[in-house]
Symmetry: C2
Amino acid sequence: MEKNIPYKIYLSEEEMPKYWYNVKAHMKSKHAPFINPATQKPCSKDDLKSVFCDECVEQELNDTDELIEIPQGIRDFYKMFRPSPLVRAYFLEKLLDTPARIYYKFEGNNTSGSHKLNSAAAQAYYAKKQGLKSITTETGAGQWGTALAMAAAFYGLNLDVYMVKVSAMQKPHRREVIRTYGANVITSPSETTNAGRKILAEFPETGGSLGCAISEAVEKASVTPSCRYVLGSVLDHVLLHQTVIGQECKTAMDKYGITPDVIIGCCGGGSNFGGLIAPFMGERLEGKNSVEFVGVEPASCPSLTRGKFAYDFCDAAKTTPLAKMYTLGCGFMPSPNHAGGLRYHGMSPIVSQLFHDGCIKAVAVEQKSVFEAAVMFAKCEGILPAPESSHAIRAAVDEALKCRETGEKKTILFGLTGTGYFDMSAYQKYNDGVMGDNIPSEADLQKGFETIPKCKVNGSEI
Amino acid sequence: MEKNIPYKIYLSEEEMPKYWYNVKAHMKSKHAPFINPATQKPCSKDDLKSVFCDECVEQELNDTDELIEIPQGIRDFYKMFRPSPLVRAYFLEKLLDTPARIYYKFEGNNTSGSHKLNSAAAQAYYAKKQGLKSITTETGAGQWGTALAMAAAFYGLNLDVYMVKVSAMQKPHRREVIRTYGANVITSPSETTNAGRKILAEFPETGGSLGCAISEAVEKASVTPSCRYVLGSVLDHVLLHQTVIGQECKTAMDKYGITPDVIIGCCGGGSNFGGLIAPFMGERLEGKNSVEFVGVEPASCPSLTRGKFAYDFCDAAKTTPLAKMYTLGCGFMPSPNHAGGLRYHGMSPIVSQLFHDGCIKAVAVEQKSVFEAAVMFAKCEGILPAPESSHAIRAAVDEALKCRETGEKKTILFGLTGTGYFDMSAYQKYNDGVMGDNIPSEADLQKGFETIPKCKVNGSEI
């Protein structure tokens, strides 16, 4: 093992970040504004504040301040589960017989099992500070719902979680964790909202969808006094909160003189990847480093590698503002895969803009090869990774194998976003040899693209 | 928060223990030897070496050396999931409004979800070093099976895990984690052993028992070339490996000048509790401190608080050596409860002897109050605890509430052995208000006591 660099780096309390990193301050081309689909005009602050907490809206629209202070009340909560370790993957390197140095930042050591708690903590804190009594959200795979339930319990807020019905049935234990934290779990579609009742009337047997659950949660927030809606990815303020990951990485690597050549993260809505790379990207945009950034998505839901850069709705029910992003179309139905957190039709506007500007590479990886990497990693590094996180493992392994061919001693950093303890039915399919890759055909993509709305802003089609 | 003492204490790599702590070196009354039930004489080294790995037997019988070196090969594995954090429970203290200072040592941040990996790593290492090809074990709740599967994968050993059938059916996800790590999971009773076939012939519909699974695993090891059996608790060498917990605690507390007044741990087989208290107990036995030690057991399986101090079999099938310990009788059937890891009829001979000599207090706590404490802890400290670990939480909370009454500023340390992610059906019962306490009647206990064997050693009944 390398001298003077610990195998696992934990920052001390004093070294922990006091600021989130707003990468937008360094982006020459800012991403296009949200559009209100009703007026076809950029969303006003008030449009957004009717849905989201005030402070989150301020952060959403802030593209000038590089550093945004993390309030003490959030830093206190962060202390419960942070710092997360930055680990040198010695055992994986040895197994791969690679000259590359592999590091990973592990966000799974908390009860929600993932990085989601970073933004849940912040959003619940701001809701409480604003004097709200309740928040609502939706959850698919369940990591976000768990994280928000933990944060709501900590700060003393009521929480309604609309959980996609099929997911609640397949993952009753996830549902139970959320309930244990005192949140109200409503399987979606439900009878509690107009959106839910409408879907149920039309499709009484439906297992629900994330799009429908979002519509229900937004509607519930809008009709409940002292309540706002909270989202777990995609938006700029969520990505901002996730920069605590990148900030910790940067501090730890700077401290020990480690310079990453490649940074790799899995991409669903984009917030963990964006949060991991932010401070490194900020420096690169200023010409201070030449790090390569790689976003990894499932071949079954390839928004960056096969999607279009266009204005689209953030939800399938077409109720949200329009965002300019890489999208497969808000009506795209990703084929079933086991990385629920990556089954999203769009991509964070910040990540989309950076990709469009050539600052980020994207790769799509196939499910079976992802699980192959996951099991290899579990056996040699002792952590059973979430299917989502395993996309980054796959890409990091491929990069390290390339280094074995070329002899390059690259330093690879990847984000290990969470654990797979609630995903064992996926592992079972892999172990039993009955897992597929489910890559969409060109026709499937075409069907999705047809659901991207024609959109005019200030009179001109965009 | 207290100045200069971090909220979470992580030792640095250099500070991590290089030695396990053999508390027996300080015990004036050593515990009675194992008895071979066939010869009614103390077990010889060779008796034990036919079942267990050579080095583990050496450690089992060593009652003179205070410090036993942790080989580098095990310390390398420990680095993957250790050090574990020593956490100040500020949020719990605040909620309880107690003047007590509460610390907990959290062993759940690894894929096995518990402290079990500490001994699994050691035992698999020694099996590999001895040149063995395979090991066998049994698992009930599944934490031990998972831990050993991880260790076997890491060191490259074949592993057969006999998993109690009803447990494998109730916890298919636990089973799948073990499989993912490459171990062979056999539901017990099975057709692979004489013991299993005999039970199946008599009770074809049985859901199995830990006793039967032990018998199968021991038999399988005895008929397999280059194979030994591995046990996850009770024995002295297992307790020894778990002293890495106490060693880390002691180093951390000494470093910051923290002196515990009370140390609390849950007691099933006794290895985690014994491992946590060992270095503190060693000092107390030498008159160097006056720490109070509290073992916490479920009221449904109260071996210390209501059992007998007698020679008994370690398994229900009466195949193992006899051990002098607190026992409810090897045929005692604990009523169903949700702390599978605490449903054992006996208690570690070391812990039993210390209790018999008045060095340890024991309390029994009831299931509903345990889950009440668990949910309170989950909400304020952000960790969803295992039902087993929650017994220690309950006792620590009670101690802190006593301090609120008396105004005492006691420093309480408790062992938080693991997470409850695979125990959500138990939480569901609690959340739904359908959980019972299942305390055995005097008649139930009497039935158990009748299964304690009459035992003569060197001619005299004991």
